[in-house]
Symmetry: C2
Subunit: 239 residues, 2 copies
């Protein structure tokens, strides 16, 4: 168990070191030697987890996708707020999350190599399509909206303001740009009563992320309580 | 005169060859040798026009900006139609204009080198800001719109759908994506009476480009007529 924990931690530090090197140098110029030096692990440890620079880059790219540990947005009163929160949290995390920064750099940087960068585009598009479809079922979305088309637009447009923010301000102004994006798009997506209640202001990213943390903590507490209960109930359960 | 014409043609074929090589290989991997082979010019001719690979890349990047020969959009009944036309024409031209394709590839591809790619972002943002400001003066634009913010959003979002279209379909679906973009954004920008008259449908790019060509041709005819008149008037003008 402790050994497995250590392996997970080692894998994570390799990923984070690789993300920093990819972010600074780009995929082509990054070297395994530099990643090893930064991660402070042995060559053997790195190749135990990742067979090649390409595999490492693909793992860094995948790390931007939300999972059960780090959901994309807090559960909210409206699906449309969840949609906005995904982008606002992303902009906020990008300021100081090295793994996310490396992932974004690799995704938006179509260099000379044939690294497959399309998975985050597909992943985010699917996620947006699902939320828009659920929002539509709940009557939050205007009737003309085609969830898949609008999802692709949001993901593509967001990638663009990200690229531009990178070029102009090293991403410092991304959250303000995300606010401008949602203020322009949401009136064409959400019904007025939902639109009027949306929080799309700068600062929403930090607030929503704090909610995600609270959700995660209380889910963790609940599962620990369940576990304790199960342990307590076990003797009775033994036939 | 003929010599100058030849120099302009040579410069143009070098630019086009370079654009194709940059589009296929990216900036870092592209070589002067490959560009020379494709342009079928001598090394001397190339270095007469461009001092370095960087200077060549910057000239290719700049080639996407509209000029007097190739304006961004036809003069239209509304400034908002001009705004839409800029993007629809761009998407249409990108299908078969090698110079534009190379320029876009270099602009959106922030590789490991320090090539300055920001000039098209600034150039397009200025152009959009000017048209939005003129539209506002004419009462075509909703009161809350801040021209500079909305301009940056459109340019950034457009760059993103371009990147995504490149990744997913080698840019074949860019015009459809541009339509979806404008259909979502324009209701937050244009007043309803202008909005109702906008043509944002796929195919608009080709139609608008044909109008630009007609404009250019009639301007050319007019200037030739002026010239002929001047020539005819010359003897009388000699004191």
């Amino acid at each position: 168990m402790a050994k497995q924990d250590r392996a997970i931690r080692t894998r994570q530090s390799i990923l984070e070191a690789a993300a920093v090197v990819f972010d600074e140098r780009g995929y082509d110029a990054a070297t395994i030697t530099e990643i090893l030096a930064r991660a402070e692990v042995t060559k053997g440890a790195l190749y135990f987890h990742f067979a090649s620079k390409e595999e490492l880059a693909l793992a860094v790219i995948d790390a931007q996708m939300p999972d059960t540990v780090q959901p994309a947005a807090p559960t909210s009163s409206s699906k449309m707020q969840e949609l906005v929160d995904m982008g606002m949290i992303f902009a906020h995390r990008l300021l100081d999350d090295a793994l996310l920064r490396g992932s974004v750099r690799l995704t938006l940087d179509h260099g000379s190599t044939n690294l497959n960068r399309s998975s985050p585009f597909h992943g985010w598009t699917e996620l947006h399509t699902r939320i828009l479809t659920e929002g539509k079922e709940r009557g939050e979305v205007l009737p003309h909206v085609v969830p898949a088309d609008t999802a692709e637009l949001i993901v593509g447009a967001y990638a663009g303001i990200n690229t531009m923010s990178q070029a102009v301000s090293n991403r410092v102004d991304l959250e303000r740009r995300a606010t401008v994006l949602y203020e322009h798009l949401m009136p064409s997506i959400a019904v007025p009563s939902v639109l009027a209640r949306l929080d799309m202001a700068p600062g929403r990213g930090a607030r929503a992320l704090a909610e995600v943390e609270r959700m995660r903590k209380s889910a963790l507490d609940a599962s620990e309580a369940d576990e304790a209960e199960e342990l307590g109930a076990a003797p009775a359960g033994v036939a």
